[in-house]
Symmetry: C2
Subunit: 130 residues, 2 copies
């Protein structure tokens, strides 16, 4: 059973040293959304937090040896579903970013932790748990 | 450009009336993970919050008419990237669930908002924004 998606756009950034996690990143970049979806961005505002789902397009293929991985700054291997490694059974990334500006199909964002040209799969509103 | 994923498991629930969002749900269910990944669950504990990514496998195909949608209890059409509709360019769902129990490859969870047999794509640790 395969489930296929097409990117709705791509990340662009001049950063070459990308932090390993959005929660510790102050790096800037932008999301260039396919213009066919531009109307779908009309309710996104400056300073909104957005959830961005993307494809870890440069990560190594997942193998059984990746079910446990030792994260940076840890000493004990952890289960892949408890860590944020880009090497996952399905290489989908999730970052919570802050919108710095938005015009037409371009969203300027802060806290990025993804590489230039990363394919973007979805944008969702950020909703904190109860 | 197509990006393909395979489910790591499936949701199961006896609920037939599923709330429209995890943030207002007290419904229970379980995630049955493919046993090949069972070691990857070893660091998930009772009462943990987990992020679950899944495929809206029963949603209607996305068309240009879905770029703006009027959510339940709203009166004005909103951009698809600011709402949680299952009808999206890439039908990926995201829920923050609470682990009630875990044994072997079965995770019992609370706050579900997905249908029985929903394909699960990924599980990630819940990390609140700074």
């Amino acid at each position: 059973m395969e489930i296929s998606f097409k990117p709705i756009g791509f990340f662009r950034t001049a950063e070459t040293r990308i932090p390993r996690h959005w929660s510790v990143s102050d790096a800037l970049g932008r999301i260039e959304i396919d213009p066919v979806f531009v109307e779908g961005l009309k309710d996104i505002r400056r300073q909104d937090r957005i959830i961005v789902l993307f494809n870890f397009h440069k990560s190594s293929p997942f193998t059984p040896g990746h079910i446990l991985q030792t994260p940076p700054h840890k000493t004990i291997p952890m289960g892949v579903f408890s860590i944020c490694s880009p090497v996952r059974p399905n290489p989908i990334g999730l970052s919570v970013l802050t919108v710095k500006d938005i015009r037409e199909n371009i969203i300027e964002v802060e806290h990025i932790d993804m590489l230039d040209k990363t394919p973007v799969l979805d944008i969702k509103p950020y909703i904190p748990p109860a």
